[in-house]
């Protein structure tokens, strides 16, 4: 019976799938590595030829150029490294504040987009369609050149309640600053906030588990009020003072100044990204089907509870990943600051290239920094996705 199975014949190498796949592995590796090697070869040749330095030693040399705005102390005698740091902080500043504002604005417009009020709904559509179909750079130019650069001169400043002064040189805000004893107040304020959040979460969970009323609302709000109040009196009744901008000569002194560049990039990024966030929000909420809400109502949950317990958690699951990618887009888009003169990471990088003549190392630094921001974001996103998947099982 086994007669028709001959001894295994030897397979020629060129027909053996194992050798074939090994060969493709090797050939493809050679092609890819060869390309990289060729580029590296050209690179070393050209850098040697032109005497381009690849070292990072220049980072400790004095930068020698001024930076118009900086949250951390900086002057031109400080190093290139410090200047780079200033740029990074400026990027983070505009990104973080932009993300907060864009989220708030995006939520409002997204909800307006879902509103049953026809007119309100159309307004949201107009806003979204306007912003989604024009280039961000053009929007930034409009905000910067057509709005912030057209503000009245210092003499004729627009005065808003606060007082806030708005003029060609920027936005001057009345800003609360801590007095010498202010740290006590600040500490207790933060402590109260943390405790309130903790109490809220723990008590809500206890309530969900035991079904007993735990008075989480009054307790959390009580903590939120009592702690800062103690701090206020411990600080002697005056923990903060208001730094009011005053007109001195041709300019405002004191207060908190935001430059027109910062204002334009912040407003531009916020309004642009808000349109995309609004679409994300709308998509997320619409995806939570009507049936879900009806089922929850049928179980007897109140309307506010339906929203809090059923719709929002499920919508969040859909909303969060694209929302985070919008955050990442905003951060990357902040590099357009260069075009209107706000000195972010990329703009400082470019000045450094001109000043120090070190194109390659600076470029690597700038790109690696942006990459790190992206990686951190996708890392957070992955953790979130994993948690969501865990919940689903």
């Amino acid at each position: 019976m086994a007669a028709n199975i001959q001894a295994k014949e030897k397979i020629p190498v060129w027909r053996d799938e194992r050798y074939l796949s090994a060969a493709t592995q090797i050939i493809s590796s050679i092609v890819v590595l060869g390309l990289l090697y060729w580029m590296a070869e050209n690179f070393t040749e050209i850098t040697q030829q032109r005497g381009i330095s690849l070292s990072y030693k220049f980072l400790s040399e004095p930068a020698g150029f001024p930076i118009s705005e900086s949250t951390i102390p900086y002057d031109p005698t400080m190093s290139f490294g410090r200047a780079f740091l200033v740029g990074l902080v400026n990027t983070l500043n505009v990104s973080v504040i932009g993300i907060i504002f864009a989220t708030v604005l995006g939520f409002i417009i997204g909800l307006a987009r879902l509103s049953s009020n026809w007119l309100f709904n159309r307004l949201a559509v107009a806003y979204i369609e306007f912003h989604r179909n024009i280039p961000l750079l053009v929007l930034l130019f409009l905000w910067y050149f057509a709005v912030f650069n057209r503000l009245p001169s210092v003499k004729d400043s627009i005065v808003l309640p606060g007082p806030i002064y708005l003029n060609l040189r920027g936005l001057y805000l009345t800003w609360p600053r801590l007095t010498e004893t202010g740290n006590i107040f600040l500490g207790l304020l933060i402590g109260g906030l943390v405790l309130a959040i903790l109490a809220w979460n723990i008590l809500i969970r206890i309530r969900e588990r035991t079904g007993r009323e735990t008075y989480y609302v009054p307790i959390a709000f009580g903590l939120l009020i009592i702690f800062p109040l103690i701090g206020w009196f411990a600080a002697g009744g005056n923990p903060i003072w208001l730094d009011v901008p005053v007109l001195e000569g041709f300019n405002y002194k004191n207060g908190m100044r935001l430059t027109p560049e910062f204002g334009a990039i912040l407003v531009g990024l916020t309004t642009y990204t808000a349109a995309f966030i609004a679409e994300v929000i709308r998509g997320g909420i619409q995806a939570v089907q009507l049936g879900q809400t009806e089922a929850a109502r049928a179980v007897g949950l109140r309307k506010t509870h339906v929203l809090r317990l059923i719709v929002i958690p499920q919508a969040m699951r859909i909303i969060i990943p694209p929302l985070i990618s919008q955050y990442l887009n905003l951060t990357k888009n902040s590099s357009l600051a260069l075009a209107i003169g706000y000195q972010d990471l990329f703009a400082i990088g470019k000045v450094t290239i001109n000043q120090a003549g070190r194109a390659v190392p600076v470029f690597i630094m700038v790109m690696v920094t942006y990459l790190m921001l992206s990686l951190i974001t996708s890392f957070i996103l992955n953790i979130y996705n994993r948690r969501i998947q865990f919940v689903e099982r």
Binding site: V32, S116, N117, L123, A146, F346, S374
Partner: protein
């Protein structure tokens, strides 16, 4: 009382008053929203309209219409972009005939716009009667193309082939020209500009990034470790950094990685930058399409004897790409808007032309609002038509899978 069920016909559509109450004034909150919206609309419309027709100074916008279209392209060689425009309009007309649903609105809009452009009373020396006549031919060509495209013999494949052939002809032969040919002298890309460059970068970027993106997507799913790692690194690095850094890299740093003697044209460098950027996103889109192919399809292809390559080309890719057409259109819209970034590396695209017109005359310095609103409008119109077409496409693809 017995309520008689109305089984004969659906309830009558609500009258205008009922509609108003239901949609605008159903309760006090709704009414408040309506009032807020009305006041926003009133103030916005009033201030915009009064600005547009009284305060605004449109001289920089209307002063040099040809600059927006072709930049500094030599005026004695105008027939070349002009002929290109004719060819493209004819093809748009044919596309309208073949894909009526998606292209119709855009084609009609273009025809009207070009017609208006031909007769509008602009007082400039560049717009001669000849130029006007040439423009007036465009709507005619669109309609002619439509009539031909509507014919049963012409199908989508023909039109796509024509598009590829004609656009390569325009970009590689007609516009750049050659050294030493008298009737087609070389025109350096440094003088190209305006919408010509914007469209070249956007269309060129998406078309060139398509094969690279498909290869990267396949590479990312490949079982070959080196290919896989390279693809992942490429995709993630490009997607992790802003486009502007990539454009800078290709305009400054790329030269360091190529043989010392090679010199690449500035517009071409920007195009390479756009292509590389777009390829990474294309790869992720295509990968999504590949993931949507059930493994049974590949098994069936193997079982009937197709080899790996045939399986990929005949079975997997056609289905995967069909599934990602809407997202590719979306990507094209973003890329089209992103072309404005080349201004930062000193290329005169549409936005760059706008900037240079503002800088050309001291009187124009304060007229940025007019200029940028005009440019925003151009981008808006293009993007809006494309996204509407894409929405329709998504719906038709969503209905019967075929």
């Amino acid at each position: 009382m017995i309520v008689k069920p109305n089984t004969q016909s659906p309830p009558d559509p609500p009258g205008p008053v009922a509609w108003l109450i239901k949609n605008l004034f159903s309760n006090w909150f709704n009414s408040l929203l309506t009032l807020i919206s009305l006041s926003i609309i009133y103030f916005a419309a009033a201030s915009v309209l009064s600005w547009v027709f009284t305060t605004a100074d449109w001289r920089p916008v209307v002063g040099a219409p040809l600059l927006y279209l072709i930049g500094q392209y030599p005026r004695d060689q105008m027939w070349r972009p002009g002929l290109s425009l004719w060819l493209i309009m004819f093809l748009i007309g044919m596309s309208w005939g073949v894909w009526e649903k998606y292209v119709k609105a855009f084609a009609i809009f273009l025809a009207i716009l070009l017609g208006i452009f031909a007769i509008v009373p602009l007082e400039t020396a560049t717009i001669t009667l000849g130029v006007r006549a040439a423009f007036l031919i465009n709507p005619v060509l669109i309609y002619l193309g439509y009539l031909i495209g509507k014919n049963k013999i012409v199908n989508g494949q023909h039109v796509i082939t024509l598009w590829i052939f004609v656009s390569s002809l325009i970009v590689l032969v007609l516009l750049p020209g050659f050294e030493g040919i008298p009737f087609l002298p070389k025109v350096e890309t440094t003088v190209w500009g305006g919408l010509l460059v914007t469209l070249l970068l956007a269309v060129g970027g998406i078309v060139l990034s398509f094969p690279i993106g498909v290869l990267l997507a396949l590479g990312r799913r490949s079982s070959l470790p080196v290919v896989k790692i390279f693809s992942i690194l490429f995709i993630e690095v490009i997607r992790g950094v802003p486009l502007i850094t990539i454009l800078f890299m290709f305009s400054i740093i790329l030269a360091l990685f190529l043989p010392a003697e090679s010199r690449i044209d500035r517009v071409l460098r920007a195009l390479i930058g756009m292509t590389v950027f777009s390829a990474a996103y294309m790869a992720e889109n295509v990968r999504g399409g590949l993931q949507s192919i059930p493994p049974g399809q590949i098994e069936a292809a193997r079982a009937i004897g197709l080899n790996n390559f045939q399986t990929m080309v005949l079975i997997v890719l056609p289905q995967a790409l069909r599934a990602v057409i809407p997202s590719i259109v979306g990507q094209f819209i973003s890329l089209f808007k992103d072309t404005t970034l080349v201004v930062i590396v000193g290329i005169n695209d549409l936005l760059g032309i706008g900037k240079s017109i503002l800088g050309s005359d001291p009187e124009f310095v304060r007229l940025q609002a007019e200029m940028y609103i005009f440019i925003a409008l151009i981008f808006w119109v293009f993007s809006y038509f494309m996204s509407q077409a894409s929405l329709k496409l998504e719906k038709t693809l969503g209905v019967g899978v075929r």
